[in-house]
Symmetry: C2
Subunit: 422 residues, 2 copies
């Protein structure tokens, strides 16, 4: 039976107003792994128009999990759990959820058949799902998802259980769960995003202060990622409401347009790759302190091979000399972290690869290294294109990885501007 | 005044038993950024010996934040907040915390002086901290941390407020906050970690099933990262208890030793770099589908330049030919994703760079590409060293980025084994 045909329950017309996400797992509480599920689900729920007022993480403890689910159900009609659905003893989520819902756990022939047909070993009595629940197949693991409707203190409630591993949960959610949740949603949120780079959070906020202060139906919320500032423009749309987010986005762009690289959800590397592909142009990289991070920021996007040719990682002076032909004079005189060095790196990289654009990066990422004139955090970036060469010097704050990440963003932005300037 | 000398309060002998972490910010709830603070703090608290039973994320809403803090204080004596300490209107944490603690917010001359001496712009009336609280300077931003003791329903309670940006919060916590919390802790947890690669989570769990099942004082908890399985061995140590985690670690290693690359906290890239440095050897990389991610996994570790020379990113056939001298016969015959191709890439990379070890990676990371014989997820990895060449073929599941990450782990492990085998 296809998942789209799993049995309907009589609660299919219930409208969810708000959901609380509970991530289950002691490994989350002791800081061994980062909970990316709550992040993924929040974004999804927000797109669907379901409000989320709280996330909770609890360990593999039946009492605390039950307390968390009951507490969540006092303020919300939907509780979403991730994790704790495996076959081992500390996988307690289904047990606790069934207890709260007042139903038994049962095995399901459709689920076990499907697992067996995929050659998955299924231990006896596993997996179990709450009786009468709608279930969701797990194409990448064994634990199925389930959505259980029940009545608690005369209110209609629901518990959605999802597996913990993100590579099982995310595809399950996108393929099977989201269409079901959309049927249970009344309102929709509209979110728009204006993404800036080359400017700090506080300065960019100051430039649109009055817009932020005068917000009413439309809210503008700023936040920052390394090298990037994002303004999230949001409106909750009930039926009949006018979408006023476009106006707000226009007003923001009027103020800070020169720093805007994207109105939407694309990150800077995606914007740069899309620009390259649409122009039919190619790029290559000569990386010192970023050590391959710049190239891999493009390589990790599907379809990168249409524009990314490759490049060189030259982590010491000898490599800069032998792979990229940086003259010994420069390395011994100005040094590897200098305008002269990145110029030579970029030009040679473009020549050797035949790319339309070559970026070169050299700097002191720290924690050690650097000189009095060129302290840790100093990064030179050069862009070579057929019409000429641009070099910029940056000072980045933060630890080694943060300096590397900011260098990647600055380099991609230099390339973006280089394409716009022609 | 140095932070170590900030005034003591009369509550300095309070012993914290458990802490709840509350992350504040609507941007977390709508899924725009991942909450890494709770993860960082959990691990820190666990090391200090403070139990954490719950994490909560709430938006920038005074009522919900107050409700969350009050709820947390019913079960815990310490509440830790991150975020919401900035100068803007939606930064409500200090306001709400002071209300719960029943104290006023005051400005502090020591804090503002220090900010001004660092050339930070300080707006009038900012920052404010709860009266009588211990405060912590922010070396990387403006919002200070604070620890406020108070009595609620005749119980002694405390609220620790920390800034939201991880690059401000983490250094503040490590430098100033942790030593203070350690004074307030009674017990300590011992955690040991056995890290495996080259084996799946369920298979490795099966191999130590009886150890997991017979756990009593010492608990063994498995979890997985891409390409890696970790067994966390934990014991809560009260004074007088014997540390039995070493025995448990030995018992695990006896079973799964061939897959163990680390007993401790180092990740595989750190283990490989340490091995290279201690042997005085060097490495270089020739990357196709990983596009620089392999090299940057080493480059992101402080001190990488001692062993990492550099390498080549050859993202298409022309680059493999021109930069790495892969014969056209191979590219047109066996193709770029083949044993022959990575052999040529690895050998040439070692020759060109003079490294002791060269790793070459070529595969189909997807989502498109691949052939019937060589489907998406197929990755060839070669290790070239002076005593010879090893090639392995892998099939990885998951999306593009996951295939790339698993390739990086497999390549590093091939290098690690290549060093051990001599």
């Amino acid at each position: 039976m296809a998942p789209e045909e799993t049995p309907m329950t009589s609660d299919d017309r219930m409208i969810f107003r708000s959901a609380e996400i509970i991530s289950v797992g002691t490994e989350l509480l002791v800081g061994q792994i980062v909970d990316t599920n709550a992040h993924f689900l929040s974004e999804q729920l927000s797109q669907i128009g379901l409000s989320t007022y709280r996330h909770v993480v609890v360990g593999d403890n039946t009492e605390r999990l039950e307390q968390a689910i009951r507490h969540a159900l006092t303020d919300n009609d939907l509780v979403i759990t991730t994790g704790g659905l495996g076959p081992t003893e500390d996988d307690i989520t289904a047990l606790v959820a069934a207890r709260v819902a007042g139903v038994s756990l049962v095995s399901n022939r459709d689920i076990t058949d499907r697992l067996e047909s995929r050659g998955r070993y299924v231990s006896p009595g596993y997996p179990l799902i709450p009786e009468g629940s709608r279930y969701f197949h797990n194409d990448n693991g064994t634990a199925p998802g389930s959505l259980t409707f029940f009545t608690l203190n005369r209110s209609q409630k629901a518990i959605l259980m999802l597996p913990g591993p993100p590579d099982e949960m995310e595809p399950m959610f996108l393929r099977y769960v989201r269409p079901v949740l959309e049927m249970h949603s009344a309102a929709k949120f509209v979110h728009r995003y204006v993404r800036l780079t080359g400017i700090g959070e506080s300065r960019s906020e100051d430039m649109i202060r009055d817009l932020i202060d005068s917000q009413d139906e439309v809210t503008i919320a700023p936040y920052a990622n390394p090298g990037e500032v994002v303004f999230r423009v949001s409106q909750r749309l009930e039926s009949g409401d006018d979408d006023k987010t476009d106006e707000a986005v226009e007003a923001i762009v009027e103020r800070v347009g020169e720093f805007v690289f994207e109105i939407g959800q694309r990150t800077l590397n995606e914007v740069v790759l899309d620009m390259l592909v649409s122009r039919g142009e190619t790029c290559a990289f000569a990386e010192s302190c970023t050590g391959g991070m710049l190239a891999s920021s493009l390589a990790s996007i599907p379809g990168a091979s249409k524009a990314l040719l490759g490049g060189f990682i030259t982590y010491n002076d000898e490599m800069k000399q032998s792979l990229l032909g940086v003259p010994r004079d420069i390395l011994e005189g100005e040094g590897a972290v200098s305008e002269e060095c990145v110029r030579a790196m970029a030009d040679h990289c473009r020549l050797r690869t035949g790319a339309d654009y070559a970026l070169a990066v050299s700097g002191f990422a720290g924690p050690s290294g650097g000189t009095e004139d060129t302290p840790v955090g100093t990064v030179y970036i050069a862009l070579s294109k057929c019409s000429g060469l641009t070099v910029k010097r940056f000072f980045f704050r933060g630890d080694r990885e943060r300096v590397m990440r900011q260098s990647v963003v600055a380099a991609l932005n230099l390339l973006r501007r280089g394409m716009i300037d022609g």
